[in-house]
Each structure stands twice: as structure tokens, then as C-alpha cells.
Symmetry: C2
Subunit: 190 residues, 2 copies
């Protein structure tokens, strides 16, 4: 059994601009959603989404070229091997648009033991993962589900904290700009 | 002087799918980046980006229709008033693509006093904001810049924590799936 298999390190370098180009299409978003559940071959995708094969092939090729999708050939009993398309790697990207704010960034999952130490709550949750091997199979499953739930809660908390930080960053930025403007005006005698 | 002006509450409801459609184009991303620095009129945008006015007008109309941009007429000395385009509101969106993971969500800035209490470090930073009015103008500016820096650091920390949480969520999810598969296989006698 693979216990926490290491992620594929041979990440394709994906350009965020290219990913946004790919995401700017309804059918391609639907394809990505479908493939996130598992690899499919062309006619499967075409049937699931009720979109012609020719269009599906075009979209799949584009996304493969952009590095979001990977392909794998699978032998079948008769005929040529089937080409399966799947998500190549996890990617999380964040787009910020606002006043004096424009940023597209890659916030894909990472692991860093050093950084983990600065988040005691998180370290506590993940420490439980190391205890798993001492458990019976049934208890391990219960514990895994419980850890998953805790991680989800932690993610929600972090999202909330982030949204609040962004709110204050916006407010403080606006205040700084307005103070600067006031100073400029008073400097020229208004 | 407006001190922390309240945000415009009349938010246009933006559909995330529509925003992604808008973001899926290089010129539109460039327009958004330009307008994040301040409102512009058509020929300004056209000159700055070195793209024909006809194409610019088309892109601006699309983004206005999608609710990302707002317009404002500004009188000029001679001739018709000039139509300025600007970012309508701050929006932060997050796209996650991976194995058993597909999510597009709006994580735009929010403020919630109740939630703030659960983040002591954040509450500490924001408490300083309330002390600002006691300061001289010069000290206030220094303090604002310092708070801004702290908030940025906090945002970086939260981003890091989130990426680590996402990493573990992926790992735990894979482990759960592999345990389920093992159980299924053993149930049918493998």
C-alpha cells in the first residue's frame, strides 16, 4: 500500500495566462469538471456533455497543450489502444481585480515542514496523520475522515481570515491614497 | 475627510462563469490591469495598449455587461461628455482544478466583526486602526504604512497556511480513496 504517495515532481510548468485562456470557455470548464472525477476518453466526454466529438477533441488538445491535461494510452481487447485524458496536476489559482489591485497568482498546494511549524493548529492536525499506522484498518478510516473534516474546517477559517485581511488591505490602501491626495492638495495651496 | 468610507453596498451580482469568460482573453486582462490603476476613456485604453478602438470598445462593452466594469460620464470643456470605464468592485476569485477537485469560488473581501474575533492576530492589527485618529497627520501616515505592511505579511502567511492545508487535503483524500478501493477489492475476494 502506498501511504501518502509523493506527488509527481515533474510538474509541467503551466503559465497562468494560458490557464485563464483555457478557463474562459464554458465547454472547457465542463470538461475539466468531468475529468476531475477521473480520466475519460474522447467519446465518453462527448456523450457526457452532449457536445460533438470534433469540438471535444479540439478542446482536449488545447488543454493538453497548455499542460492542464495529460494523456495515457490504455490497451483494450480489440483495436487500437484508447487515449485517456485526465487532469495533469492540482492547480489553484487566484485572480484579484480591484482598485490598485490586479493580480493573478498560483496558490497550488505545497508542503513545507519549516513553514508548517508557524501554524500550530495545522501542525497538530497533521501530527495525527503520523499516528495512523498504529491503528486498525477500521479505526484508520474513521480517523482519516475526521482529519479530513478538520482540514476542511481549517481551510474555511483560513479563507475567512483571508477575506477579512483583503478587506482591511483595501480600506487601508484607500486611506493612504486619500491622505496622499490631501497632502498634495495642501502642498499646492488648496 | 472620509475615514474608511463604507464600500458601495449596491454590488452588481457577478456570475463567476461570466467573469472567467471575460478573463479568458489577453487583451481583456490587459484592459483590467490598466483600469485597476484608474478609470480611462476609450481612446486612452486604445493608445496605452496599442489596440484599435473598435476592438477596445467591444471588450469594454462585454466587461461592462458582465458587471466587472462601470461607466461614468465626465463633462469636458468642449463637446460631448467623456465616458470613463473603471473597475466596478473588488473581486477575488479562486479556481481549483485537480483530482476530485473542481471549484470556482468567490473569495472577495468581506468584513465580519464576529468572525474577526476568532483571529486574534488580525484583531490586534485592526485594533490599531482605531487608534489612528489620535495621531498627528504625519504619524498617521507612518502608522498606516506600517499596518499595511503587517496586513500584507498576514496575507502571505494565510496563503501559505492555505496551500499547506490544500496539500494535506489532497493527501488525505487520496489515502481515503485508496483505503476504500482496498476494502472493495478485499470484499470481492481479492
Amino acid at each position: 500500500m502506498l501511504f501518502f504517495p509523493s506527488l509527481n515532481k515533474l510538474f509541467v510548468i503551466m503559465k497562468l495566462d494560458q490557464i485563464l485562456d483555457m478557463l474562459g470557455n464554458d465547454t472547457r470548464r465542463e470538461i475539466l469538471q468531468l475529468l476531475s472525477e477521473g480520466p475519460c476518453y474522447v467519446s465518453q466526454v462527448s456523450q457526457e456533455l452532449n457536445v460533438g466529438q470534433k469540438a471535444i477533441i479540439e478542446h482536449l488538445k488545447l488543454m493538453h497543450h497548455a499542460g492542464i491535461l495529460e494523456t495515457r494510452d490504455k490497451k483494450i481487447e480489440k483495436g487500437r489502444p484508447r487515449k485517456y485524458y485526465g487532469i495533469s496536476q492540482e492547480v489553484i489559482l487566484e485572480v484579484k481585480i480591484g482598485h490598485r489591485l490586479f493580480d493573478i497568482s498560483d496558490i497550488s498546494p505545497v508542503f513545507d515542514n519549516e513553514l508548517l511549524k508557524t501554524f500550530p493548529k495545522l501542525e497538530h492536525i497533521t501530527a495525527k496523520l503520523e499516528m495512523l499506522s498504529h491503528l486498525t484498518e477500521k479505526d484508520r478510516m474513521v480517523e482519516l475522515e475526521s482529519i479530513y473534516k478538520q482540514l476542511e474546517d481549517e481551510r474555511d477559517d483560513l479563507d475567512t481570515a483571508k477575506r477579512i485581511v483583503e478587506y482591511f488591505l483595501g480600506q487601508v490602501n484607500r486611506e493612504i491614497q486619500s491622505q496622499k491626495l490631501e497632502k498634495e492638495l495642501s502642498d499646492i495651496g488648496f
